[in-house]
């Protein structure tokens, strides 16, 4: 029994580390990497294992048991808030009307836009979106980029709610903030240990990218303000989830099915890509 006491435990772990190092050197040599690269990989893996030897810092959850409760409560509160937003949000009262209309067009029940409150909310949410997207492209640390992206995705969901697209706002929060972002953070955690940790570009590259993107932004804004859109005078009412679903299953049935097939193929492909090689 290798876990009999601490000395045996350490000996066992040391032997495991030695085996892992030998295996990795052999493997990297076989894959055609250079000696230096193999040595760097070995250093990184040794560092990884030595980190794993330290006792895990898990005192925090025991000191604050209330935090543990909060962690389980969070998704529940989030789902309740989402449900409230979808059911009673702007433009949602046309659900009943659309059901009685029995057509694929949403019922005309309310006109949300207009007023100072909407303008204030728009400027608040748009400011948050712009600041957080700038934070994404300025931040050097990849984890900070992910956190700024979280703020940006949340404020874009609020923009959808301001545009009376309640279902899209909820889907944005569920799929992007709940799924894609967690996936990205898992990817960051799985790939963060690297011998080459400096990812900073040259100043010349930064300057070139800033000039190109700034010129594109100025050009886009100039083109936008110079264009007159037809049909801007009338303001559309909010669309309901029922009408959206009805349209999705009638007119957009083929893309809907194709998207389902695509999701299955992607699931199989991602599982195949992330598979451990034996």
């Amino acid at each position: 029994m290798p876990y009999a006491n601490d000395v045996n435990n350490d000996l066992f772990l040391n032997r495991m580390i030695f085996n892992a190092m030998a295996n990795s050197t052999h493997r990297t040599r076989a894959e055609g990497l250079g000696l230096r690269d193999a040595a760097l990989i070995r250093c990184a893996q040794t560092f990884d294992h030595s980190r794993r030897l330290k006792p895990a810092a898990q005192g925090r959850a025991k000191i604050f048991p209330a935090l543990d409760c909060l962690r389980w409560l969070n998704p529940v509160v989030g789902l309740v808030c989402l449900a409230v937003l979808v059911v009673w949000g702007p433009g949602a009262s046309s659900v009943a009307a659309a059901d009685t209309l029995a057509s694929d067009v949403a019922g005309v029940t309310q006109a949300v836009p207009g007023g100072v409150l909407e303008a204030l909310l728009f400027y608040l949410v748009a400011g948050t979106t712009v600041i957080s997207s700038l934070g994404v492209c300025i931040a050097k640390n990849i984890v900070r980029m992910a956190v700024w992206l979280f703020v940006a995705l949340g404020s874009v969901a609020l923009l959808y709610l301001l545009l009376a697209a309640n279902f899209l706002g909820a889907i944005q929060l569920l799929v992007y903030s709940g799924g894609t972002l967690v996936l990205l953070i898992f990817g960051i955690m799985l790939t963060s240990k690297s011998p080459w940790v400096r990812f900073e570009p040259h100043r010349l590259e930064l300057l070139g990218a800033a000039v190109i993107c700034g010129a594109l932004l100025v050009g886009l804004c100039a083109a936008l303000t110079g264009t007159t859109w037809h049909g801007m005078e009338e303001v559309m009412p909010g669309t309901s989830v029922a009408a959206l679903g009805r349209r999705l299953l009638t007119v957009y049935l083929v893309p809907f099915e194709v998207a389902g097939v695509l999701l299955m193929i992607v699931m199989v492909g991602a599982a195949h890509l992330a598979r451990q090689e034996k």
């Binding site: 930064l206 993107c213 859109w229």
Partner: protein, 104 residues
């Protein structure tokens, strides 16, 4: 300025697009580039939903296209993270400048 027009939303979308493009151009980390792609896809979605709200007379085409864009973005992110993890397994880094094994 009290009434929010279509152009306001389109300008927000343009800012999102340009910051996403800047992120894609300047980051070396493969997952950083992926984050830039997500920003660009979000800008497209903001534009689609704003056009649907202000110009599309009750047809919901913009919202449905945005829905499909979200589905495709989720699929793309899953595959791209899988590719990043494989890249890390093979090259021991996610620096895209070091993935040069296909260079002739």
């Amino acid at each position: 300025m009290a009434t929010i027009s279509l152009n306001h939303y389109l300008i927000v979308g343009a800012v999102l697009f340009c910051t996403g493009l800047f992120t894609m151009m300047t980051k070396r980390n493969a997952i950083g580039i992926l984050i830039g792609v997500e920003l660009v896809l979000n800008s497209v979605n903001v534009n689609l939903i704003a056009f649907d709200r202000y110009l599309g007379p009750n047809r919901m085409d913009g919202q449905l296209m945005a829905l499909f864009v979200i589905v495709l973005a989720a699929a793309e992110a899953a595959l791209a993270v899988g590719i990043c993890i494989n890249l890390y397994k093979n090259v021991a880094t996610v620096d895209v400048d070091r993935a040069t094994s296909l260079r002739g």
